[in-house]
Symmetry: C2
């Protein structure tokens, strides 16, 4: 018997937005991962082929936080035909001392959107060059928008280039971004033109084939690849991982569901390659960007520490505001 706080998406949206505070919270979670003591088991992943669906469960215990999140992320890709979003889900918060359920966050994936974009902000904070005039974003979905916003929190860029496969979608996306950011937004003629003209590039797609070639890289470029999170996905040509400093959020995940997987399979990096992790950089144990001319690449597969960080933050704000329905379990 315990009081469980049930929070809705609307309440959670009122409590958490993508701002510097959210980036700080996710940065601190990565730093905890870098310092050690975090317990983060492999992702539970279930494919329901006959329904064109999948479910991922992520969790991480972070010492010092009052609770840890368990996140359930279903993706059912026939949903749009039914007028429903593909992605859904919820998070639970369990007390770090007793394991007792404290809160159920019915966020329908909103907190995941925020913590994923915030990780892009953390990567840029440490790895993007100081001077960023132009950012290029590949993809036209929710993360294409949120990553552009997260980068604006870290670098005062003046021009956004966008590219996506679907011309109608990219036009609508460009118009929306122009409105939202109040800066110059252009649709790039090609992915190559986008990469060559940008100081920071973010890939935000479910692509299964490389979208960026190594020949397009140039001094001072930072790339964040945040789309790949499954063993069939890939956004960067494997040579790219050896063409600059490669950093990832979690080596074991990048090697199984991220960009490191493809680079190892292609023989570009050895199977036992140990890249620097973003958390070690956040913790000050490894350097961030070391010169304006360096080429840096960061693969984000999505980690349980981000979920625990954003969920404990959301719960704290919600409690302070008196939000949530209390159910005595």
């Amino acid at each position: 018997m315990a009081d469980v706080s049930i929070l809705t998406e609307a309440e959670l949206r009122a409590c958490v937005t993508l701002d510097r505070g959210a980036v700080d919270i996710v940065e601190e979670a990565f730093a905890a991962l870098g310092r050690g003591g975090v317990v983060m088991p492999p992702i539970l992943s279930m494919a329901i082929a006959e329904k064109h669906g999948e479910v991922d469960v992520k969790t991480a215990y972070v010492p010092g936080l009052p609770a840890f999140a368990i996140k359930v992320s279903p993706g059912f890709f026939d949903n749009p035909k039914k007028g429903l979003p593909s992605l859904n889900g919820l998070m639970m918060l369990l007390d770090s001392e007793t394991g007792i359920v404290r809160a159920v966050l019915l966020d329908n994936g909103y907190l995941t959107d925020v913590r994923t974009a915030a990780a892009g902000g953390v990567a840029a904070r440490h790895l993007a060059p100081r001077g960023v005039e132009t950012v290029g974003i590949i993809g036209a979905g929710v993360q294409a928008e949120l990553q552009a916003r997260a980068l604006r929190l870290e670098r005062d860029y003046r021009r956004l280039l966008v590219w996506a496969r679907d011309p109608g979608k990219v036009a609508a996306h460009a118009a929306a971004m122009r409105e939202a950011l109040g800066i110059e937004v252009e649709i790039a003629a090609s992915r190559e033109a986008l990469v060559r003209a940008s100081q920071v590039v973010v890939t935000t797609t479910p692509s299964t084939e490389p979208l960026i070639e190594a020949a397009w890289l140039h001094p001072g470029l930072h790339i964040t690849a945040m789309g790949s999170d499954a063993p069939n996905k890939n956004e960067l040509a494997p040579e790219i991982l050896a063409a600059g400093r490669f950093v990832c959020d979690r080596t074991s995940q990048s090697a199984t569901v991220g960009e490191l997987r493809t680079a190892i399979a292609a023989g570009i990096l050895p199977a036992d390659h140990v890249p620097d992790e973003l958390g070690a950089i956040c913790a000050g144990l490894k350097p961030g960007r070391q010169s304006e001319d360096e080429v840096t690449i960061c693969d984000l597969t999505g980690t349980g520490v981000q979920d625990t960080a954003i969920a404990t933050h959301a719960h704290r704000v919600a409690l302070a505001r008196g939000f949530g329905q209390i159910v005595r379990s």
Copy 2:
């Protein structure tokens, strides 16, 4: 945005009890597992050593059921010092067609108790001899009680022998069982005496060392070992698995967290040994007990199909009774 039904432990207790209906439902889930088409990924398991805690997440998609469960089971073993139960947890039900969250079952582990005991009933239904006079139960916890009750649903036994390490606990347990079952209940002088005098024995402990020796086995005995669910646990001497017909709920789980693990480690069974699974027996693909004299052993590690079966059943009953708080996520 979807309507999510929040159900409390009290409501769930009113909807689901350990009866033949519950055993039937769990039997049908095992049969589905035996027939194939079920998707059941490996258990997500997280040990939080610094808090003496652990969390397991189980799930299974069962074709034909309207939803699938994801179950979160925390165990924090310092809780009793704080006056709290060690085990807690909740289940979620996701729509089988869309992945959308339909219900959150704040059962604090109650449904797990029922489905675990029901699996003992299923094992006895197919593997216990017809004529059972005496049942022996090792352990004095919740499952010691529930397994004795589940067996009464399947075999009309007249005498219960109990044994547990703690003399005070076992005395209270024996008195409670006498009251609950209205049959003869005796505290066995030893585990050996208990096994030798029983036709069905159930082990219900978190033991890490064998509680039953092979020399105590006798014609017609059925043993269900339901305690082991972690790589350090073990209730049966490894020789026992070769001393009769060995069946388990899920080979991959028994080989990693159950009795098969110890038998393989001891060289009693080969690492690639493929026992019959209980589901294949429930589906009629493999025989149950084949003679009154056969010795049978069943290892139950606990499976996601049981969770999906009991949770969908509980939700159906709760909806029919108008139970649950509806939260628009």
